[in-house]
């Protein structure tokens, strides 16, 4: 009703001009709507399949719930689950393990992947490059069953391949000075002594994901145009300087992306520790118990879904903090925020 005088005046104008006017008044709407048209298909699917589980888990973290008793058996317990989680030594142990594994298995992935990707792009012919990249990628596609079988065979104490190689190497004069301790230490129990579990897991994680990072970084280095290198050469850059001053800054968005993924992925690490400790509550002394592993244990094996939900939000908080720190220091350049 309020707008009616306005409408009247509009109608009074000639049809032609009115159409022009209307179009120009619609234009801002179209402009506002366009980005939403692009993002809406994704956002809708996302809301249906991701948002609801998130709300569910948030709600659950304030309930006591044994899932096998059905949805109706939930009982509101307030902050009790969070209190239990923060007061739980296994929780803190698992957070420590998570952080340790994230750092030790995370950094080498990139320290190896960046130079290898650079070499692949700059020093290897395209055809051969494809063969190498495909091979480096193989661990990423290897199924968990195969990984557990293979690494059990490698790490096993009495007849494991790793121990046999170490023994053989220690008897070889070239290495014997450095490996004299090996025979004494045999059999080394890579997966069943508390101080070796984490390094053993870290190696598998590095082995599995470095190839993936090589692919990301290769795609990045390939966006650096030849002209830039040529310009560098004219300015007298040597090979190292080309890498450090020209190529590296150019792949910043890729590095930012890859590091973000590693942070988030590593802090949620579950499968590798779970498989390598045979799902046995985190291995000796819970040395291989990561936070995700622990909340799996609490939720699916101890059947305390509410408590597990609380743990998952505590873990979420840690991941959010770690990611925020990363975004704070690297985000401006990494996200291309200066555009």
């Amino acid at each position: 009703m309020v707008g009616s005088p306005h409408k009247v005046s509009q109608v009074a104008q000639t049809p032609n001009r009115a159409r022009v006017r209307r179009a120009s008044r619609l234009a801002p709407w179209i402009k506002t709507l366009t980005p939403w048209l692009f993002i809406s298909p994704f956002v809708i699917i996302f809301s249906v399949f991701t948002a609801f589980p998130l709300f569910f888990s948030a709600y659950l973290s304030f309930q006591e719930w044994n899932p096998v008793a059905g949805l109706s058996s939930m009982q509101f317990v307030g902050l009790e689950n969070y209190r239990t989680a923060l007061d739980d030594p296994w929780m803190w142990k698992s957070l420590y393990n998570t952080a340790w594994l994230a750092v030790v298995s995370g950094i080498p992935q990139h320290v190896i992947a960046i130079p290898v990707a650079y070499l692949l792009v700059t020093a290897v012919r395209a055809g051969v490059r494809q063969v190498y990249t495909a091979t480096f990628f193989v661990p990423f596609i290897t199924s968990t069953v195969a990984i557990s079988l293979i690494f059990y065979t490698i790490y096993s104490g009495n007849a494991g391949i790793l121990n046999q190689w170490l023994l053989a190497a220690s008897k070889w004069p070239v290495f014997s000075w450095g490996l004299g301790w090996v025979e004494e230490a045999m059999p080394i129990r890579w997966l069943s002594s508390s101080d070796l579990i984490k390094p053993s897991i870290a190696f598998v994680v590095i082995w599995k994901y470095t190839g993936f990072n090589i692919v990301i970084y290769s795609a990045g280095f390939l966006t650096v145009s030849k002209d830039l290198y040529d310009a560098g050469k004219v300015d007298g850059c040597n090979a190292w300087q080309q890498f450090w001053h020209i190529a590296l800054p150019m792949i910043r968005p890729f590095a930012f992306f890859a590091v973000t993924l590693t942070i988030i992925g590593n802090l949620q690490m579950f499968e590798e520790p779970f498989v390598l400790t045979s799902g046995d509550s985190g291995g000796v002394g819970q040395s291989g118990l990561t936070a995700s592993y622990y909340l799996y244990l609490v939720g699916w094996e101890w059947l305390e879904m509410g408590a597990a939900a609380a743990i998952s939000w505590v873990l979420f908080l840690f991941i959010a903090i770690a990611t925020s720190v990363h975004f704070y220091f690297n985000g401006r350049k990494g996200m291309g925020g200066d555009r």
Binding site: N66, P67, V68, A69, G70, L71, S73, T84, D87, D88, P89, W90, Y152, T153, S156, G157, N158, A159, R189, S192, S193, S194, S278, G279, D280, S281, G282, G283, V284, G285, Q286, L297, W300, E301, W302, L303, E304, M305, A307
Partner: protein, 413 residues
């Protein structure tokens, strides 16, 4: 793309609508190797019940229980009959997701006396009603290498008379480079499980108080630690290549296990060692069990009557029970079957020993353990966590049990 989504959606809706048409048949959810068993039994069952079509869906053991948890949580999607492993049965049957089989029209109580009593009791909720019917059990025995025993001039009855003589046997073997047992942890696990007072749970007394710091645990851990510290065990994990090698090569002298291990040894673990093995009671005069499975009907099932017919067939009829012994090596739970000729058959793999008779005798003597709410947590914290710290990291037993006790109290209120 959109067209695909639309047509898939339509297909999905059609499939959803088509589901009720399965109503005249039942589905069994379980894990392998039960599929092998059902391949044969469903046909026989259908001779008497041609109107009940039976399908079955198998998943890996852990996956199956995860799916079952989801189905019970959401009260939909479960089979009409589900198989529940003994390690989950306590937690699952007390949660109200299964049909009470003690009530009419099932009246499961009428079959009670036909079953091995400890297994029957494991399927009971804390309200005394029957929710799970045992289908197979794992009476605990000791398998041992006869050739190793002879090589040190020992007698089996002497070795198992108590834990000290068992350890003494290990010391003799050590000089020959043979391990007494693959993993000393097995010793602690079985002692804890077998020396209970009447009415106690494994980890909690009738009032729910933790028993973890009791002598039972201290004693079990001490014996296991002694075996480990003297270097008598191989520190070999179960179901690994090294484990099988120990059986093949005779570098491991004994294995405490459920009777079902026999089938595995014979069929694929160490078939070439036939005749070199024997079976005996557990050392120290104790009786215990390893493993076992139960059948239950989810309350959400729309065909509980048909489901019950199939359960009755599998568990209360001697033929399928004996078949499962012969085909899977799964030990029968039905007392009646123990009179079958199969139980007096000499077993070539065990050098002609009539071991099934021994298994049956053990089964009758296994004490009942009342399942408690926190068992799954305690199992992880005490029997995985604390025990590993004591054996592998040399942690003090009393301290380890105290820490475990504190952890447990914090988690279970």
């Amino acid at each position: 793309m959109k067209k695909t989504i639309a047509s898939s959606l339509a297909a999905g809706l059609l499939a959803a609508m088509a589901l009720p048409s399965l109503a005249d048949g039942i589905r069994v959810d379980g894990f392998p190797p039960f599929d092998t068993h059902f391949d044969k039994q469903v046909n026989v069952f259908n001779e008497a019940h041609p109107d009940i079509a039976v399908t079955y869906q198998m998943n890996e053991h852990g996956d199956h229980h995860k799916k079952l948890t989801t189905n019970l949580a959401t009260q939909s999607g479960a089979g009409d009959v589900v198989i529940v492993d003994v390690s989950f049965v306590g937690a699952f049957i007390n949660a109200g997701g299964f049909v009470n089989l003690s009530d009419a029209p099932y009246n499961a109580g009428q079959f009670k006396d036909g079953f091995v009593s400890y297994a029957w009791n494991q399927g009971q909720g804390s309200d005394g009603n029957q929710y799970g019917i045992p289908i197979d059990i794992g009476p605990g025995v000791m398998f041992y290498r006869r050739d190793v025993l002879e090589s040190v001039g020992a007698e089996i009855d002497g070795v198992i008379s108590d834990w000290n003589s068992y350890i003494e046997y290990g010391r003799k073997l050590k000089d020959k480079g043979v391990y007494l047992i693959a993993d000393a942890g097995d010793v602690a696990r079985i002692i804890v499980r077998t020396t209970l007072q009447e009415g106690e749970g494994l980890f909690f007394d009738a009032d729910g108080n933790s028993l973890v710091t009791s002598d039972r645990f201290d004693n079990a851990f001490t014996i296991a630690k002694q075996i480990r510290d003297e270097g008598l065990d191989g520190q070999i994990g179960a179901w690994t290549g090294e484990w099988y090698d120990g059986f093949k090569n005779g570098t491991v002298a004994t294995q405490l296990s459920g009777a079902w291990l026999l089938g595995h040894l014979q069929n694929w673990m160490a078939p070439d060692t036939a005749g070199k093995w024997g079976a005996s009671n557990l050392p120290g005069g104790i009786y215990g069990s390893w493993g076992g499975s139960f059948l239950a009907i989810p309350a959400q099932s729309e065909n509980p009557a048909q489901a019950w017919e199939f359960i009755k067939y599998l568990t209360t009829q001697p033929d399928p029970q004996i078949d499962s012994l012969k085909d899977l090596g799964a030990f029968p739970v039905l007392l009646e079957t123990y009179g079958d000729a199969a139980f007096d058959e000499p077993l070539d793999f065990l050098a002609g020993q009539k071991a099934r008779r021994l298994f049956a005798d053990v089964a009758k003597k296994v004490p009942a353990v009342t399942p408690m709410k926190g068992d799954l947590i305690a199992e992880d914290i005490v029997m995985n966590g604390a025990l590993a710290e004591v054996l592998n990291d040399g942690k003090d037993i009393e301290q380890a049990l105290k820490d475990a006790d504190r952890l447990l109290k914090r988690r279970i209120k």
